[in-house]
């Protein structure tokens, strides 16, 4: 299996461990990745807030770049995923935008793009649909039995489901299945489906972090050992900013936050530094201690 690979902005700027763990884990599953050269920001809801057409153009350009390589596109960021899916939908359904976009792509990149050549896939879709849970279970060498995980999807992988068509938006299963495939247990927690608050950080930082605080409390109350995310924004919010959230809410969470490919890598027998666990911020020592108990 071979995919074009697009990391988006937040991963290379703040979360290299997501990139590292993704490459390590997919390498072990015989997946080849080709970095998508010249792929800039997708625009996401940031550019969309100012001008929707700019967001659509930035995203459709990335799809066109992948299309010209005739490779399906792996994205690890749900923000990018939603944006690319949105642009693709508008490109197919809105003839006016399609003609304008084709002319701009021809002019800037000399690409003739008709919507063909590449399908956008998020990491969890590749793991479940293209590789399969059975194959993943077969490569688990050090099962994470008794590890209680709060799975956190991120909004832009689920909603709106009519456009994204990934999982049941109100009762998603894919990440839970992937967590369970490592031997860990995906537990129920109250605010699982809520937004992490990240997108409004630039507008009202305190409000943004207080949403994350409510979620962290919910995870702590459910007695999870860690949160597992698949979204760089959620990861950044819960992990990197956990201390700041504690200051705002006056509560301590001591909650490790792990990216799914890191969790899978550990279960496959990779060392913590091989999946960049040393780059995670919140209570990683506590998590390493818990792993020792799990593997005893």
């Amino acid at each position: 299996m071979k995919y074009a690979y697009y990391t988006g902005c937040l991963v290379p700027a703040r979360l290299n461990q997501y990139d590292l763990a993704t490459r390590k884990v997919l390498g072990k599953l015989d997946v080849e990745l080709v970095d998508l050269e010249d792929a800039a920001c997708c625009g996401t809801v940031i550019a969309r807030s100012i001008d929707a057409k700019t967001n659509l153009m930035m995203s459709i350009r990335i799809l066109a770049l992948a299309g010209s390589k005739k490779l399906d596109l792996l994205v690890t960021c749900p923000g990018c995923f939603e944006s690319l899916m949105d642009a693709y939908t508008v490109f197919i359904e809105n003839a006016g935008f399609r003609e304008e976009a084709k002319s701009i792509l021809k002019d800037i990149d000399n690409i003739s793009y008709d919507g063909d050549g590449s399908t956008v896939k998020h990491l969890i879709q590749i793991l479940i649909n293209d590789i399969g849970l059975e194959k993943i279970k077969a490569v688990v060498e050090k099962p994470l039995n008794r590890l209680k995980v709060a799975a956190h999807y991120g909004c832009h992988i689920l909603r709106p489901s009519t456009k994204l068509r990934v999982d049941d938006a109100e009762n998603p299963k894919m990440l839970d299945q992937l967590v369970n495939a490592t031997g860990a247990e995906s537990i129920h927690w109250m605010l699982k489906q809520w937004c992490c608050g990240f997108p409004i950080q630039a507008v009202d930082r305190n409000l943004s972090l207080s949403i994350a605080g409510a979620k962290l409390r919910s995870v702590r109350d459910a007695e999870a050992d860690c949160i597992v995310t698949i979204c760089p924004s959620c990861q950044f919010q819960f992990d990197v900013l956990q201390n700041e959230i504690s200051k705002i809410t006056g509560e301590q969470y001591s909650m490790p936050v792990i990216l799914y490919p890191q969790l899978l890598g550990l279960a496959m027998g990779l060392a913590p530094e091989d999946v960049g666990l040393n780059l995670n911020k919140a209570s990683i020592d506590r998590f390493l201690e818990r792993l020792k108990e799990v593997w005893k």
Binding site: R61, G197, A202
Partner: protein
């Protein structure tokens, strides 16, 4: 946070606002709204934002009041409202649309404008520092892909993003 107060007395009304929104790339069909409030009940910030009121204000044509509402910038874009609307109104897209209109009147929160300037200047929402590149090298990761910023600037020039961002009327 101030409550949204809708006063129709001496208010300029734009009867075409709902049609304009329904026909943009950010389609949102406000006319189908029955004011059931499912959107607001599921909103993680329902204490501060009332999507059903915003949709009602669109149908009343209260453009001037809407573009000055701070609430529209507090939408986390979680799409719970659009997911659950029994009438497929798509309140999240309607809010995007209002933010686009506000931007064309020079109303953009400073923090958001700054991130958009990064996109214009770097082709990314955040700058990739030399420290991060060194970290990649240490981890055995390939260099971050290069971005031809001139191409991004040409794209932005075509959509007039730079002009909208700097508050000029477009």
């Amino acid at each position: 946070m101030s409550e949204i107060v809708v006063s129709l007395k001496s208010t300029k009304v734009d009867p075409f606002l709902k049609q304009q929104i329904a026909h943009s790339e950010l389609d949102g069909r406000s006319l189908l709204c029955t004011q059931c409030g499912i959107c607001t009940s599921g909103c993680p910030l329902g204490e501060y934002i009332k999507p059903h009121k915003i949709v009602r204000m669109v149908n009343l044509g209260l453009r001037d009041q809407l573009i000055h509402l701070r609430e529209i910038w507090l939408c986390t874009t979680c799409f719970t409202c659009s997911q659950r609307c029994p009438q497929d109104v798509n309140p999240a897209n309607i809010i995007f649309n209002l933010k686009n209109t506000a931007s064309r009147h020079g109303i953009i929160p400073a923090g958001l404008r700054e991130i958009c300037r990064n996109i214009l200047e770097e082709g990314r929402t955040l700058k990739i520092t030399t420290g991060r590149e060194r970290e990649r090298e240490k981890l055995g990761l390939p260099k971050t892909v290069t971005v031809n910023i001139e191409k991004i600037k040409r794209l932005m020039d075509k959509t007039r993003f730079d002009k909208i961002l700097e508050g000029g009327k477009v």
